[in-house]
Structures are given as structure tokens and as C-alpha cells.
Amino acid sequence: MRTITVNDAVGEALAEEMRRDPRVLIFGEGVATKRHDLLAEFGAARVRNTPLAEGIIAGTAVGAAATGLRPVVDLLFAPFLCFAMDEIVNSAGKLRYLSGGQFAFPMVVLALSGAGWGVGAQHNHNLEAWFAHAPGLKVVMPSNAADFKGLLKAAIRDDNPVLFFMDLALGFQPGEVPQHEHLVPIGRAATVRGGSDLTLISYAKTVHTCMEAAHRLAEIGVSAEVIDLRSLKPLDEGAILRSVGKTGRVVVVHEASRSCGIGAEVAALVAEHAFASLRAPVVRLTGPDAPAPASFPLEQAFVPQADAIVSAAMKLFADIGSATSVTHADFPLEPA
């Protein structure tokens, strides 16, 4: 084991997979400028800058994937995916099915999101749930360097389109990553802390917030299990249901907005398939249903904090009959 940053883990995964398989290539706006190590090693045909046009970047990846290449495209910030939805959703996600299985689309789309840079909602928008709602795609969003590396390598080897979301705030976070070949299978959650009284479920940077909350809960005698989903589609339903079967209490935490988010899916899953085990309301703690502001204190307040997790958790041990709404910073339920 050695400690490297998330950004370095991503760089290693790309280099190793490009070394292993000559069909892997990477392109995007500024990719060849920024990843000069890859350019130097693999040459200009496999590491390419593109014109500033997300639609054709994604579309080119889809067409290339269908015909033998294994492209990775860097679309920079998640909101820019809005210019590539047709290519990702209507083409990559549907054309295998519509062609009766004639084509496969082994491709990876990289995108950043999340608070931490003060750049506002046109750069910071957690859109992962959209892709979990669309057919034919896979979605991952890791929380630590080892998973960044292992999941990116798995994504590149996957024969399906994989959306690889990178929480911006994690880029420089160091973490232990095995020296040897390291793959993390898509579709498998990680139980990052064992516990028996309640389950905190999250992904990306709020996993760390959940760990902090779990730590504090432990101090007051509550044993919280923490699950890092890692893969948002396919979701590791077994891991979720097993944990809730044990604890009977769930708080789902993410920065993305609540309505129809990943937390809604997890809560709905639990409410259907772990109902008999549930001992308290299923609580979601999410970012507000607002665009992300640039102003530093507002941006910080946007993200669920450990305090809120702890107090949401504590309420689950109150009398069920009196359980009331526990939402992030007590925002009103309705947008209006």
C-alpha cells in the first residue's frame, strides 16, 4: 500500500488501462494539454484534444465504441453533460437494445461535480440520478482513491457505457491504493464501517461526513453502519437490504437534490423490500432543491453536514409515532 491522491489514482487507472489495451483512448477539451504524461506515452492518436463541443465528443465516443474502440471522454463539469444527453442517453443507452443486441458501447464518460470551488450551479450540479433513471447505462461515483482507481479500471473494461462522476472536493484527497493491479467491480457497495443500530448510506464525499457522524454517534453509544454505495447503477440492493435487515433504521445522505435522487431510490427500495425490518422512518438528508450558489458560506451550507446526520439519526430512536420531518436544514418540502 501507498498513499496517493484521487487525481493520481485516476491518472494511474488511465495509464494502466491504456497500456493494457491498445483500443483504449481518451479525448476531450484540453485532455492532451492537461494529461501530457499520457500524451507522451501513448501518442497523439490515443490522447486527443477536441473542439469545444460536448455533443460531438460524446457522439464520437459512442460511434467509436460501437465499432471496436474503447473510448474514455472527459466532459469536464457535470452540467456540460446537458450538451451531450442525446448521445449518452438516446444513442449509447438505447442503440444496443433498439438494434436487437447487435452493438455494444464500451465507453466511459468522466465528469466532475459537487461543492468546493465556488463556481456556482452551471459548473456544480450533481446529476448522477438522471443517468440512473435512463436505461442501458451504468453509473459510479467513488469516495476514495482506491475506489477511484479500481472503479475506473473496471469501467474501462466494462462493455457498457459507464458514467464516472468525480466529486470535485475529493481530487486532492490522499488515500491508500494497492501497488499491484487493483480492480473494484461495478455494482458492489462497500460497508466502510460495521454497526448494528442504524445504517448510514451515502456515496462520494458525504461518505466521509457519514463516517464522522458515525464516529460521533459511537461516542454517545449508537452503533452506526456506513455503506458507501460506490455504484449508483446497478445499485447493490443486496448490501443495502442486508444492512437494513440488521439495523432497521436508515439515513440516506447525498449532496444531490432530494426529488427523484439516488436517496429516493434507496429509500423506496428499503420501504418495499425491507419493510418488515424497519423500526423507524427512512430519512433522506440531501442538498436543497436549489441551484448551487457560488458564495462560499452558501456553498458549504448546501452540503449535508455531520451535525445534521447525527441529529437525524437520533430522532430515529424517538417514538415512531412522533417521528416528524427531518430534512436538511429544515428546508420546506415544496419548491414554491
Partner: protein, 321 residues
């Protein structure tokens, strides 16, 4: 890559055009009889499809759109499997999942048909990148699309990337003067899309799209140039959508004079008259072709109608690889 000489012959092209027409008429008849769904027919545009596709080699690849029957049949697709697909049957090229709008046939090199207008343009660059980086031969990519698709921004993104990356693509814009229920003149300031293409420093030409020999000559030249230079080219076939946008369509919004003028230039009748006049076709030969085509379509219809619907379990297959 050499052409089968007979594929390039006017007679071979006539037969393919007549096959396409008969196929589309079969679909229209089924739709009118209520035994088949509506569809976007290529009636009137057969010369464009055949002139281009008959100029391709076996390793070249095709992307096409919602008005694809001509391209597929010219490429040698089996009308029986196509009809089966239109009817949503198990023996269709896409197991019935596509229906008529996105038929692709990988084995024939008909890759990634998209009915998102502009979808084929966004995908073509990637297919060409594979040809360039992986192919052992000098295969090129042909991307068929309409004048409407040229209004989508991705048209420009595609042409620009093909230029900048030097991708071997023949862009074929079938300018049939209509974009669903809107006339082309309402949507662009010039009559020909080639002006837009030329701005991307792409060699861009237009040709009478109802004259299959002219289309074929232009396509052969373009294909040869692309193989030589590795760079994209743009060819516009000026033609007309003789039937409506989607069956049934009463075309009440169409100027009857414009329609009549183009009907008088029906590409099939035009070629027949010309070949008869040049003594390259006899009335007897023509009748033989007609009979052959009719027979193929009758067989195709029988095949398609006999093909069962897919099993319900197919609803959730072919989603992930």
C-alpha cells in the same frame, strides 16, 4: 476495394431503385390496410440512395436515419427481414425492437441508425475514427442525413471534427426540401446545404439527386478522393420527398405545383426513359425486372407476416452487454 462492375451498371441501379419503390409501396399498402404501422418512406429519393450505396465497397460503413429503407436495400438488405422488423417481428434485423425507425444491420455494415434527427451525424465521426485507427483496409464511412438534420448544431460539430481530425467520411445530405411539416425554405437562408458545409473547409458539392447516374458518378469520385486523402467530403443530393413525412400524410400543406414538378422528375421513370432511349433497356427487360421485384416483395411479405412476435421476455434482453 473494387466494385462489382454490375453494381455500377445503370440496369443494376434501376433494379435496386425499383425494389426500393416496391418495398415502400408494400409498406404503404399495409399501413392503409391497417396491417402495418405508418412509416417514413423514401419514395422519390431512390436515386440518391442507390447512386451512393452502389459506389461503396464491402468494408465501407453506413450510418442512416429514419428514412433508411433505400440505403438498406441498396446495401443488400433482405426485404423480408426489413418488413419483419417494420412489423415488429422476431425475424426482423433488430428482433422487432427497432421497428422501422432505427433498423441497423451490422453484418452489412449498416451501423447505428438513429431516428433522433442529427443522431447519425454525432455518431459518424466515431465510426470513422475506428476505421482510421483499427481497420486494415481503406474503408470509409458514409453518413446519410436530411436537410433538416443540417439545422441541428451537431451537423456543424460533426463536420468540424471530421475536418480537424481528418476522418474518412462521406457526408451525404439528402435535401428533399422538407423537414417533416416545414419546408426547407422556412428554415435556412440558402437553397443548398452545401454552403454550410463548405464553411468547414470541406470539399462540398451538390448533384441532381433524381439522376442516379449523376449521383453515382459524384459518389464514386468522392469515395475515391476520401480513400486517397483520408479527409471528409460532403455531397448533397437535391431531391424531393414525393410522399408525406410519415404515412398517412395527406400533404395538404404541400404546394401542388411544386409537388407536380418533382413528380414529373420521378427518378425511376427518368432512368427508365433514358435507358429505353439509349437502347440499354427493352420493354421486355423492364417487365422482367418488375416481375422479379414483385416476386421478391411477395416472398418478403409472406416471410414477414409469418414471423412471430418476439416473446415478452425479450422486453428486458439486449439492454446491457
Amino acid at each position: 476495394m473494387t466494385q462489382q462492375p454490375d453494381r455500377a451498371s445503370p440496369l443494376a441501379m434501376l433494379e435496386t431503385m425499383m425494389l426500393i419503390r416496391a418495398y415502400e409501396e408494400t409498406i404503404v399498402a399495409m399501413s392503409e390496410a391497417g396491417t402495418g404501422p405508418g412509416s417514413c418512406t423514401s419514395v422519390g429519393q431512390e436515386a440518391s440512395a442507390v447512386g451512393v450505396v452502389h459506389a461503396l465497397g464491402a468494408h465501407d460503413r453506413i450510418l442512416t436515419n429514419h428514412r433508411s429503407a433505400g440505403h438498406l436495400l441498396a446495401r443488400g438488405a433482405d426485404p423480408g427481414r426489413m418488413l419483419a422488423e417494420v412489423l415488429g417481428r422476431r425475424d426482423g434485423y433488430c428482433k422487432g425492437k427497432s421497428g422501422h425507425l432505427h433498423i441497423s444491420a451490422k453484418a452489412l455494415g449498416v451501423i447505428l441508425t438513429s431516428t433522433i434527427v442529427g443522431g447519425e451525424l454525432s455518431l459518424a465521426t466515431g465510426v470513422a475514427l475506428s476505421q482510421k485507427m483499427l481497420a486494415e483496409d481503406d474503408g470509409i464511412v458514409v453518413c446519410f442525413f436530411g436537410d433538416g438534420a443540417a439545422c441541428e448544431g451537431v451537423f456543424h460539430e460533426s463536420l468540424n471534427l471530421a475536418t480537424v481530425w481528418e476522418l474518412p467520411i462521406l457526408y451525404v445530405c439528402e435535401n428533399n426540401q422538407w423537414q417533416a411539416f416545414v419546408h426547407r425554405r422556412e428554415t435556412m437562408p440558402v437553397d443548398e446545404v452545401r454552403h454550410w458545409a463548405a464553411a468547414h473547409a470541406i470539399d462540398s458539392r451538390s448533384v441532381d439527386g433524381n439522376d442516379v447516374e449523376a449521383v453515382h458518378a459524384a459518389a464514386r469520385e468522392a469515395v475515391g478522393r476520401i480513400r486517397e486523402t483520408g479527409k471528409p467530403m460532403f455531397l448533397e443530393t437535391l431531391t424531393y420527398r414525393l410522399r408525406g413525412h410519415f404515412e398517412p400524410d395527406d400533404q395538404s400543406y404541400v404546394d401542388p405545383a411544386e409537388l407536380a414538378a418533382w413528380q414529373a422528375r420521378d427518378p425511376i421513370a427518368l432512368l427508365q426513359r433514358r435507358l429505353l432511349a439509349r437502347d440499354e433497356l427493352t420493354a421486355a427487360q423492364l417487365r422482367t425486372i418488375e416481375r422479379n421485384v414483385r416476386a421478391r416483395l411477395d416472398d418478403a411479405t409472406l416471410f414477414a407476416e409469418a414471423s412471430p412476435f418476439p416473446d415478452i421476455s425479450e422486453l428486458i434482453t439486449d439492454i446491457y452487454a
